[in-house]
Amino acid sequence: MATQLETFESNLGTVRTDVTRATPSTFEAAIADAIVEPAVGTSLPFEEVSLANTDVVCDPTSTQLREAACGVTAAAIGVADYGSVVLEATPDGAEFAGLFPDRHVVVLRKRDIVPDMAAAFERLGDRFRDGRDDAVIATGPSATADMGELVHGVHGPRETHAIILESEEQSERDGETRGENDVQ
């Protein structure tokens, strides 16, 4: 049986989204690998990590946004069954950073992955009633078949990449479980 994380990862693959796993200590390296410059981003609402020491320009101006090749933003929820991520709009413009540049890098905590849409909607319902009422369930890059064949990156990003953030201990434990599975 695949774990929820593995299901999520393989579904992200199905919807053309690359994945890397990171821990707080490997996060900055993961970002460096995932982005192309110039990159803009908005602050991540996670305690463990921040974009401060990366090459991502936070709090961009409209010119920087327009010139960016890559945007980095956080996702509030991951939906394992679909490989979807829930992007929330923020007052510093996460929505724009995730929509304008050609490449979108999404940072998501492992513990925010839920198994299916039903679970996602339960969480979203609570958030919407709490007043955090703006979200996009994004699945893979922007796409259209209107021009005769499938083309990506119409109005939104052409490429999507997810960085899944685990704690150091989780990562070790995952390693062990994976090791055990290998033996079987």
């Binding site: 709090d59 961009p60 101006t61 409209s62 010119t63 946004l65 327009r66 679909y82 979807s84 709009a89 923020t90 007052p91 510093d92 413009g93 929505e95 724009f96 929509l99 849409m117 039903a118 909607f121 339960e122 979203l124 319902g125 919407f128 009633r129 009422d133 703006d134 979200a135 996009v136 369930i137 994004a138 699945t139 893979g140 890059p141 922007s142 796409a143 259209t144 078949a145 209107d146 021009m147 005769g148 064949e149 499938l150 083309v151 990156g153 119409v154 109005h155 939104g156 990003p157």
Partner: protein, 752 residues
């Protein structure tokens, strides 16, 4: 009349030639994608039930929900306007646009704004309006109406679009690939979005409890249209409201699958506007975050435009459950051939469009294309909210009939075929609708009637007055009807039979294809069933197909009365013709009172379903015809074994909707036949449709896909069998091999 018919035929031929290929490829792709995708969804049926229940509740409580939406949206800081009709809605949006001094307005795809022709209204008031969905953009540039509710430019090929763009825009280099076209459109529309002052969207759903809009897109343009301009107007039909936020979930899982076959579309936007995203000013050098979102303005325009009346209309109400996913269009064989432009209507296209057009634009708009629904019912199981789309088509057809003016040829059929229908009813419809009378007369005077009907002058006359295409072979009536054969037969009935069954003598089995009736009787008797073939009224399928609901209802009552004594005596009803079985099990629910409907529907079976049941319950299949019987079987006459064991089977549309196809395959396989099946949606005949002059070409075009399958190497040498009368007739004209009914293979008295 006949010139009208000729014009229709011309238009269909033109669309077949110009748009058919592109529509067909795309619609069939979506359709195949849907089958795969729903297959992957666990509990698909449960999802559909939930989706339907939510819509039923929402429409039931609609006036309350509208008020609730008003409260929640206003609490959030937006404005709600309920518009009575198109003019009212357009006036309101025009005022918002004027108040914002908007020179440029960007839109994401919305059929509702097409319905009210909002673009024209805004342009007339001096604003530039741009569609940002690529398909819509193509149509805007081409100045065309959508051909499909989800993929509006489905009828245009890449080459077409390239030609269009190269002509319309002043480009340095010609565009060619899909990638180039997309990049051009992205850039062009990107600039329009940046300069826009107002963004207009539709809404796939609006939740009453949180005032949330849900927008489903794959391109991301809706989000940009909402977030970049600081004023957002959403225009949505009142039927888009659902009670709670959590109610969105089944729809989010169903809508993409049902439409284009994707498990989920790339972007499902959920927001309770005005949104908190900062306003963006591309000329400013300040960080975007500093702008804040205070300037944002939101207007929700809820459109009535006939919907509240539809809600009161027992027959049209279901239309309001529609989530505009397009599954009904994609699964429609006729749509696959010609696309939405043939289906006409002012805005909507495809199966459910009849309901929409009748409701929002009035019957005249629905009349134009309503005929293209053959009632095959393939869309019924594909609809995620379980709308009986063919029924809505039938009802609207009936209403159109009733509005018709008196015709000049009425005297021709009036005396011959008294029915419940208004005098002005189209002669062709009346002719097909009263096939029962014709069949009776045909048998009584056969073979003279057959000979007469086939004479060139008769065919010409029939074409001219009734629009029956000369190229179609007419059914040949048997002198001795199936019922008479049974009555005249001298066979002793099994004593102490465990099962008693009536074999229903449908019109075709009784008058035209009596062989299949006889085969059914012999088969059941060989399995120990005591069989009766009483004289029972025709099912009413023929008048129903022509929208003659009152006549069909009369027939239904007669059938129920004729069969009642048998049902009371414990007989089952075995039906050979699938479209008649579908009458008993589907349409009779609408035509009879519940008790009579249920007792008949519960006890009627398709002939192979019944045989399957008998075999499952231990009946001995030994006497039945099998792949091995034939030459060495004394009763088999001149049968030969070669090739006959390999079968190519085409199941009937309604039989598939009722999920009965597996029984035929199972029984044939038990009898050692090797069966391959067709997987095209339909044979293209669907009864009277294929006889009609104006639809002949379309019918043959649809049939061509079946012909291709059955002429492919794996099927080319197989014996062709089909369950439905119309399928048999269509296959007969498509193939050089003569098709037969599967019961003839199982018949213990099989004659090859």
């Amino acid at each position: 009349m006949s010139s009208e018919r000729a014009a229709k035929a011309d238009r269909i031929r033109h669309l077949l030639a110009t748009e058919g290929d592109s529509v067909g490829e795309n619609a069939r792709g979506f359709n195949a994608g849907r089958y795969d995708s729903v297959e992957r969804l666990e509990d698909y049926e449960a999802y559909k039930d939930r989706a339907r229940a939510i819509k039923e509740e929402a429409i039931e409580r609609l006036p309350d929900l509208i008020e609730q939406v008003r409260e929640t949206v206003e609490e959030n800081g937006g404005t709600v306007y309920v518009a009575d009709d198109a003019a009212d809605a357009n006036r309101y949006v025009r005022e918002v646009v004027r108040d914002n001094d908007a020179e440029t307005v960007v839109k994401s795809k919305s059929m509702t704004t097409e319905e009210i022709e909002l673009n024209e209204a805004l342009e007339a008031a001096g604003s530039e309006v741009w569609e940002t969905d690529l398909g819509e953009f193509v149509l805007q540039v081409a100045d065309e109406a959508p051909s499909h509710i989800v993929a509006p430019a489905i009828h245009r090929s890449r080459e077409d679009i390239a030609r269009l763009f190269n002509e319309q825009f002043d480009l340095e280099e010609d565009l060619e690939t899909a990638q180039e076209l997309t990049e051009f459109a992205r850039e062009y529309l990107g600039e329009r979005i940046d300069e826009a002052d107002v963004g207009i969207t539709g809404a796939n759903f609006v939740t009453a409890d949180t005032g949330t809009m849900a927008l489903v897109t794959s391109e991301g343009n809706a989000r940009k249209s909402v977030a970049v301009p600081d004023t957002h107007v959403a225009v949505a039909g009142v039927e888009k409201i659902i009670p709670t936020f959590e109610d969105l979930q089944p729809f989010v899982e169903l809508i993409g699958r049902s439409g284009t076959g994707q498990d989920i579309t790339s972007y499902v936007s959920l927001f309770s506007p005005p949104v908190g995203t900062p306003t963006i000013d591309f000329d400013s050098d300040e960080p975007i975050a500093d702008a804040g979102s205070e300037d944002r303005e939101f207007h929700l325009v809820l459109l009535d435009n006939g919907r509240m009346e539809m809600r009161e209309d027992d027959q049209l109400r279901e239309t309001l459950y529609c989530i505009r996913c397009s599954a009904c269009a994609n699964s429609c064989a006729n749509f696959q051939s010609v696309g939405g432009h043939a289906f006409g209507g002012e805005t909507y296209s495809g199966g459910i469009a009849t309901g929409w057009e009748a409701g929002v634009h009035g019957q005249d708009s629905a009349a134009e294309f309503n005929d293209l629904c053959t009632g095959c019912s393939r869309c019924v199981n594909q609809c995620p909210v379980k709308i009986d789309i063919p029924w809505i088509n039938t009802v609207v057809r009936d209403r159109i009939n009733r509005d018709a003016e008196d015709g000049q040829f009425d005297f021709l059929v009036e005396g011959l075929t008294p029915d419940e229908e208004p005098a002005g009813l189209d002669l062709q419809k009346r002719f097909f609708g009263n096939f029962a009378t014709l069949a009776k007369l045909g048998s009584a005077t056969a073979p003279v009637s057959n000979w007469l009907a086939d004479l060139p002058p008769s065919r010409l006359l029939m074409e001219r007055t009734l629009g029956i295409d000369r190229r179609r072979e007419l059914p040949a009536f048997e002198r001795e009807t199936f019922v008479e054969w049974f009555r005249n037969r001298d066979v002793s009935r099994p004593v102490d039979a465990e099962y008693h069954a009536v074999v229903y003598p449908d019109l075709y089995t009784n008058h035209v294809r009596t062989d299949r009736g006889k085969a059914a009787v012999r088969t059941l008797e060989a399995l120990g069933v005591a069989v009766e073939v009483p004289d029972v009224a025709p099912s009413g399928r023929a008048p129903l197909s022509q929208g003659m609901v009152a006549t069909a209802e009369d027939h239904a009552r007669d059938v129920a009365a004729d069969l009642e004594p048998y049902l009371e005596a414990g007989y089952d009803v075995v039906v050979v013709e699938p479209s008649d079985l579908a009458m008993f099990q589907r349409e009779y629910e609408k035509l009879l009172d519940a008790d009579r409907y249920e007792s008949l529907a519960d006890r009627s079976y398709e002939v192979f379903e019944y045989v399957y049941g008998l075999l499952e319950n231990g009946a001995d299949p030994a006497p039945l015809g099998s792949a091995h019987s034939g030459a060495d079987d004394a009763t088999a006459g001149t049968g030969t074994e070669t090739g006959a064991a390999d079968i190519a089977y085409h199941s009937h549309c309604q039989q598939r909707t009722l999920e009965l196809e597996p029984y035929t395959i199972d029984v044939l396989e038990r009898l050692s036949y090797d069966v391959v099946t067709s997987d095209v949606e339909c044979c293209g005949m669907a009864g009277s449709f294929g006889y009609k002059q104006e639809y002949y070409d379309l019918s043959m075009d649809v049939g061509d896909r079946l012909r291709e399958q059955f002429e492919a190497p794996d099927a080319a040498d197989r014996t062709v069998v089909a369950s439905g009368t119309s399928c048999l007739e269509q296959l007969d004209s498509l193939l050089t091999r003569r098709p037969r009914h599967p019961i003839s293979l199982v018949d213990p008295g099989r004659v090859d």
